[in-house]
């Protein structure tokens, strides 16, 4: 049976009205169930609002003006009238839906849209290039809209303009897939029911068919407290293992998927493989030059002593360079060497750093490889590190790149090796990987030599906290932001995409009372007055809660902005703003700013301390009733964390952690 686009559009509409992550997962499970491999791939991609994984650099992002033109062609509602509506509705999807509903023009014939056709047309649109590309795109969009219902038009236009924004995190898609891919599910449910376990359990089990994740959780909750819920212990004894079995199967499948996703972050192709070959199919996904891995992250700690304790008395310490984290992929294709650079966000940076590509080409002596490093601005004569801010001037630049390359020379300081001469290195321990790294480049040393362009991160293995502290101070003197401790144990493998205790960062900002900066997401803006009239006076900032996929407010940020920032902020905010019910799907805030924005832009923020606040929703009610946590005296450091996506922002848990350790320091001092 051919899957109509209307069916998935209806599902998207329901998702838009949901805010809880579990409910969204349930909706996705319904959407994903019973699809063919290609269909599931298309659905997953469309749900994310893209046709190809971001790292391939093929984007839709058609100008809204073009979508409006297509709407005019299809409906013949005058462009003035559409423009007028756009002012009140804001979002392109709502506009398209409304305009299509008022369509004045009939057509000679129309065909129902299928998912297959919508996806393939969108793919064509993303690939159109050249002189007449705008006309060609317009034609393709008009052809789709022509056959679209108003609801379908809502999502077609959003996807085409690169503004799907359903608020579904990749991990929510993974959660849903792990349910869909647990075929034993219905068998186990049947088995439980055949035990005739009595009313409350039966009702709970039956609810699973409609409320999958939520109902399974409440079933687990129910049988975990048999006495309180008045359940027969004999029945529980039989039901419990079945439920545990089900849960562990789902969990296990999820783990395999997450691992595949971290080594090959393309959910579309993962979904396709899953449907074609089942969970086993994912085992064929390997590290592969050309496909970026999700970066491994470190925990943080506030003293060398506690780091050594965690690491079992001995650890490697590496300079933590303040630059742009880059994953360089080098491989051969038909005799030609390919070099591609990816950012932490898995975007292709190759075109922005032609100098780095040249350096690698010059120095790389392996067959192929994937190495990680930090791209840092350096003083060309001495190799001294320069402030990170300089490198952001190199990013996103298309014009006068050549001048900038000369003006702001950079060096690549490599620190890890994930693939070497045909071998996946991610399962090797840290020291083995570092040795392999040294072998991949000619003449690789720890001193930065600007003309060579590639050097190795400075590293020292220490047992003594005093020596560690000296190394740390040296790193600060040399212009680093601190150090990264790396476990030298045999189990210290490269855990793509996860944060773990194999790596622990130790940073200090002596200017602030908080030991570290926070990366917070802009969720709104307040109009400025006085000197800031016509610009924004303050931004509403949020931290992220990955468990629920929600952004909660943590401070109002008004200081640290220079004129340039204030000026830039107007267009940035404008681009992200939209109606509250659309852009704030995943936002939980008591404060309503003048302008609400899609959580997207991450800023680095310093602050004095974390305090209780009744106005902010970060961890509201978790530590203290009727109060959340807020950052006091927040100040923008001037650093746009464009290398981070909103889901990489400082988490609520981290803020709770900082709050806890800050109070510990206070109590240590007073004792």
């Amino acid at each position: 049976m051919v899957l109509s686009f209307e069916e998935i559009a209806k599902s998207y509409k329901r998702i838009e009205d949901l805010s809880k992550r579990l409910e969204m997962t349930d909706e996705l499970i319904d959407l994903f169930t019973g699809r063919s491999p290609a269909e599931l791939e298309y659905i997953v991609r469309l749900t994310k609002g893209e046709v190809r994984p971001a790292f391939e650099g093929i984007e839709l992002g058609v100008a809204e003006k073009l979508a409006v033109k297509a709407l005019y062609q299809v409906t013949l509602i005058s462009p003035d009238e559409i423009e007028e509506k756009r002012k009140t509705l804001g979002d392109i999807g709502s506009l398209a839906e409304e305009i299509m509903r008022r369509k004045m023009q009939m057509s000679l014939f129309s065909e129902e849209l299928t998912v297959d056709r919508v996806f393939k047309s969108l793919e064509k649109i993303s690939l159109v290039e050249g002189k007449a590309s705008q006309d060609h795109k317009l034609k393709l969009i008009a052809e789709l809209l022509h056959d679209a219902t108003p609801l379908e038009a809502r999502y077609i236009t959003r996807i085409v303009c690169g503004k799907m924004r359903l608020g579904i995190a990749d991990m929510t898609i993974v959660d849903a897939l792990s349910y869909v891919m647990t075929p034993e599910f219905s068998d186990i449910i049947e088995k439980i029911l055949s035990l005739r376990p009595g009313e409350p359990i039966e009702a709970s089990v039956k609810a699973i068919s409609t409320h999958k994740t939520a109902a399974l959780n409440s079933l687990i909750d129910l049988i975990s407290h048999p006495k309180k819920n008045g359940l027969d212990p004999d029945i529980i004894q039989k039901v419990h293992p079945l439920v545990d079995d089900l849960r562990s199967r789902i969990k296990n499948n999820r783990k395999i998927m997450v691992k595949a996703y971290n080594t090959h972050p393309d959910l579309g192709s993962i979904a396709n493989k899953l449907m074609e070959f089942g969970i086993e199919g994912l085992k064929t996904i390997h590290v592969q030059p050309g496909v970026p891995l999700r970066a491994m992250l470190g925990e943080r700690s506030s003293s060398i002593g506690s780091i050594l304790e965690r690491m079992g008395g001995e650890t490697a310490l590496e300079y933590k360079y303040d630059g742009l984290r880059v994953q360089a992929h080098i491989w051969n294709e038909e005799e030609n060497r390919s070099i591609v650079l990816f950012s932490r966000q898995l975007e292709d940076l190759t075109d922005q750093f032609p100098d780095v590509v040249d350096y690698i080409n010059d120095r790389f002596q392996g067959e192929d490889g994937i190495v990680e490093g930090e791209c840092v601005p350096v003083e060309p004569n001495t190799g001294r590190l320069l402030p990170f801010q300089l490198i952001s001037q190199r990013r996103g630049r298309k014009h006068s790149l050549q001048e900038k390359v000369k003006e702001i020379p950079v060096s690549l300081i490599v620190f890890d090796c994930l693939y070497s001469n045909g071998n996946d290195m991610t399962n090797e321990p840290y020291l083995v990987r570092r040795e392999a790294l040294k072998g991949l480049f000619k003449d690789l040393g720890e001193n930065i030599e600007p003309e060579k362009g590639v050097s190795l991160s400075k590293m020292k293995i220490v047992k003594d906290p005093v020596i560690g502290e000296t190394f740390f101070n040296m790193s600060l003197e040399d212009g680093c932001e601190g150090i990264m401790a790396k476990s030298i144990s045999g189990s210290s493998v490269y855990q793509a995409g996860s944060r773990g205790w194999h790596w622990i960062k130790y940073k200090k900002d002596y200017r602030s009372e908080l030991s570290d900066t926070l990366d917070l997401v802009v969720i709104g803006a307040f109009h400025g007055s006085g000197r800031r009239k016509g610009r924004y006076g303050a931004l509403l900032m949020a931290s992220y809660d990955p468990k629920e996929g929600i952004y909660r407010s943590v401070c109002k940020l008004g200081s640290g902005f220079n004129d340039q920032h204030l000026f830039e902020m107007v267009s940035i905010i404008d681009e992200l703003s939209g109606p509250i019910e659309h852009v704030w799907k995943n936002v939980d805030s008591k404060m309503i700013p003048d302008i609400c924005t899609t959580p997207d832009l991450v800023l680095e923020v310093l602050g004095a301390e974390i305090t209780f606040s009744p106005n902010h929703t970060c961890s509201f009610g978790k530590i203290k009733d009727d109060a959340g946590l807020a950052l006091r005296f927040p100040r923008f450091t001037g650093r746009y964390r464009s290398d981070k996506g909103p889901t990489d922002a400082t988490t609520e848990e981290e803020i709770i952690g900082i709050f806890g350790s800050q109070n510990k320091i206070i109590s240590d001092r007073s004792s």
Binding site: V74, L76, K103, M104, M106, S107, L108, K139, E143
Partner: protein
């Protein structure tokens, strides 16, 4: 094998009729002549054009399909004098070689493999009238100053073209036996059309041409005419507007 000689006026008519609908066409050249079917991207208007091989001085063709850019062809033909004969053939690089008197053009073909073949819907329309294109053009031209659409209301004795918006309105009466000749009449018919589209189609029809229009009730309009001394025949279909009240 594709080699023809044809009057420049005939070619100009062909492309002028197609240009209101699409930018690029797939031309089917068969043993009996040419045919083009095309629909605009929004599927509002459609053309079905045929040109008999009698229109050609020379016609040596093995059936084939050619992709052409309509507007560019019209531009190219501007280089010819009105009574010129055009010689066209395909060269070994699959380019169209167009020569007229002392001018020669070599034009790469457009890839038409992805072009769909629109099916021309079979419409049963209750009213058929024959009239001069000038009568319609007059009504369309004036109504453009009033609104963005026009209504055709046909009763037994007359066809009324109306256009209104806010307080302004236009009415143009055409009478049976005077401005038009009845071909068939089953029952009264009324439909509205976008002026934008209609005006474009009329450019394709051209001035002072005898045409047959068929009208239904909130139904597509069919408009047919001959060209190139009756060796060519064209048919336009135009979908109606949705009545707002």
């Amino acid at each position: 094998m594709f080699e023809v000689d044809v009057k420049v006026e005939t070619l100009k008519s062909v492309f002028s009729i197609l240009t209101p609908i699409v930018g690029e066409i797939k031309l089917s050249a068969g043993e009996e002549g040419w045919n083009v079917k095309a629909v605009d991207p929004a599927h509002v208007a459609m053309v079905d054009l045929s040109l008999s091989k009698d229109a050609f001085e020379k016609y040596e063709i093995e059936p084939m399909e050619l992709g052409l850019n309509v507007e560019r062809m019209l531009e190219h033909l501007k280089g010819a004098k009105s009574d010129d004969m055009v010689h066209m053939k395909l060269d070994s690089d699959n380019r169209l070689v167009v020569s007229m008197s002392n001018l020669t053009l070599k034009i790469p073909l457009v890839d038409a493999s992805g072009f769909s073949d629109p099916k021309v819907p079979n419409l049963a329309l209750p009213v058929g009238l024959k009239l001069n294109s000038g009568e319609l053009q007059k009504g369309l031209k004036v109504s453009a100053s009033i609104s963005d659409h026009i209504t055709f209301d046909c009763t037994e004795e007359k066809l009324v073209m109306t256009s209104s918006e806010d307080l302004s309105s236009m009415t143009l009466d055409l009478h049976k036996g005077q401005e038009y000749e009845e071909i068939h009449f089953e029952k009264a018919a009324k439909s509205s059309f976008s002026l934008d589209y209609f005006t474009q189609l009329m450019k394709g029809v051209g001035p002072n041409r005898d045409i047959v229009i068929n009208i239904g009730n909130s139904y597509p309009l069919k408009m047919e005419f001959d060209f190139a001394e009756e060796t060519g025949h064209a048919r336009y279909l135009l979908a109606p507007r949705i009545e707002s009240n």
